[in-house]
Symmetry: C2
Subunit: 153 residues, 2 copies
DNA sequence: ATGCGTGCAAAGTCTTTGCAGCTTC
DNA sequence: GAAGCTGCAAAGACTTTGCACGCAT
C-alpha cells in the first residue's frame, strides 16, 4: 500500500538549490509549478513551455527555460524524453506508481504511455549492480502502430 | 537454446528495399556493413560514421549518411539512441540475446551497457496489447555513477 | 556587497532540403 | 527510360552562449 506521494515543494527545490550553491528565482518556481500542474503524462518541449507561460502572462525568456529545464533534469526533477523526431520533451519525474513509459510508432509518430512496475524494479537492481543512484528510467518501445501497419510508408 | 543468429545480409536488405519500391546502392551496402562490423555495443553518430568511412577511403557524403541511417532506423535495421546530450547515435538492432540497454550518468555522461531478457519480453507483451509490431525496445536508466556521486557537480 | 540568474541577440551545432546529374531497376 | 539516389551547398531548426543588468543571499 503506497502512501500518497507528497508534492515536490518550492521549498524543497530551494533547499536543493542552496545545497549546491545555487539560487531560487521566481522563474524557477513558476517553471516547477507549471510542470506540476500539467495533466499526468503530458510532456512538453521548451518552446511549448514558453508558449504556455506567455499565455499566462509570464514573460520568461526561452534562454531561461532552456537553462532551467536542463538544470531540473540534471537534478532528477524532470525527465528528459526524446520521443519526437526533432526536439526534447520534459515532464515531472513522478515516483512509482506514477512512473510511466512510452510506446512509439516510427511511421505515424504516435506516442502511447503505459505503466509497468517491473521496469523500475529491474532498473534499481541493475543500477545497484553498478553503484549508480537511479534518477529515472525509461523504457521506450519503438514499433509500428496498427495504423502504421496499414500505411504503405 | 537459441540458434546462432544469421547476419542480416545485403541481399535481405535489397529485398526489403525493393518491396517498398526503393533501391540498393553501393553507399547503402557499405553503411550496412560498417554497422555490422562495429564492435558489439558500439554506437556511433552520423558524423562518426562519416569519419570512419573517410578513413577507409569511402567518399560517402554526410547527407547520404543522414538519409541512410534514418531510413535504416525506420526499417528497424538500426536502433536510434539518444544517450548523448547533443546528437543521435546508431547501432545495429541485434535480436535477443544480443539486445542490450543503457545506464547513463547525468554528471559524467558515462554510458554503460547491460542485458536483460525480461525487457524484451515485457515490451512484446505491451506492444501486443496495443496492436504494435515491435522494432526495438530500449530501457535507459538515468542516474548518477559512483564517480558522479563523488563530484560536487 | 557578491556573484548567480535573466534577457536579448548573436552564434553554434546538428540535420534537412533543393537541385542537377548519375545510377538502379 | 523512369524514378530513385547522391553530393554539394544552402537553408532550417533547435539550443547554447556572451554580456550587461538585476536580483537573491
Amino acid at each position: 500500500m503506497a502512501a500518497p506521494q507528497p508534492a515536490y515543494t518550492p521549498d524543497a527545490f530551494r533547499a536543493e538549490l542552496h545545497a549546491k550553491g545555487w539560487r531560487m528565482t521566481p522563474q524557477r518556481e513558476i517553471i516547477l509549478e507549471t510542470f506540476q500542474h500539467l495533466p499526468e503524462g503530458e510532456h512538453i518541449s521548451a518552446e511549448d513551455l514558453y508558449e504556455i507561460l506567455q499565455q499566462r502572462g509570464e514573460n520568461i525568456s526561452l534562454s531561461t527555460i532552456y537553462r532551467t529545464v536542463k538544470l531540473m533534469a540534471r537534478m532528477g526533477i524532470l525527465r528528459e524524453l526524446e520521443l519526437a523526431e526533432d526536439r526534447k520533451h520534459y515532464e515531472i519525474n513522478q515516483p512509482r506508481p506514477y512512473h510511466h513509459h512510452h510506446l512509439l510508432c516510427v511511421k505515424t509518430n504516435q506516442v502511447l504511455e503505459f505503466k509497468d512496475d517491473r521496469i523500475l524494479k529491474i532498473s534499481q537492481k541493475v543500477a545497484e549492480r553498478y553503484g549508480f543512484k537511479v534518477l529515472d528510467c525509461q523504457l521506450t518501445i519503438v514499433g509500428i502502430s496498427p495504423e502504421g501497419q496499414r500505411s504503405i510508408f
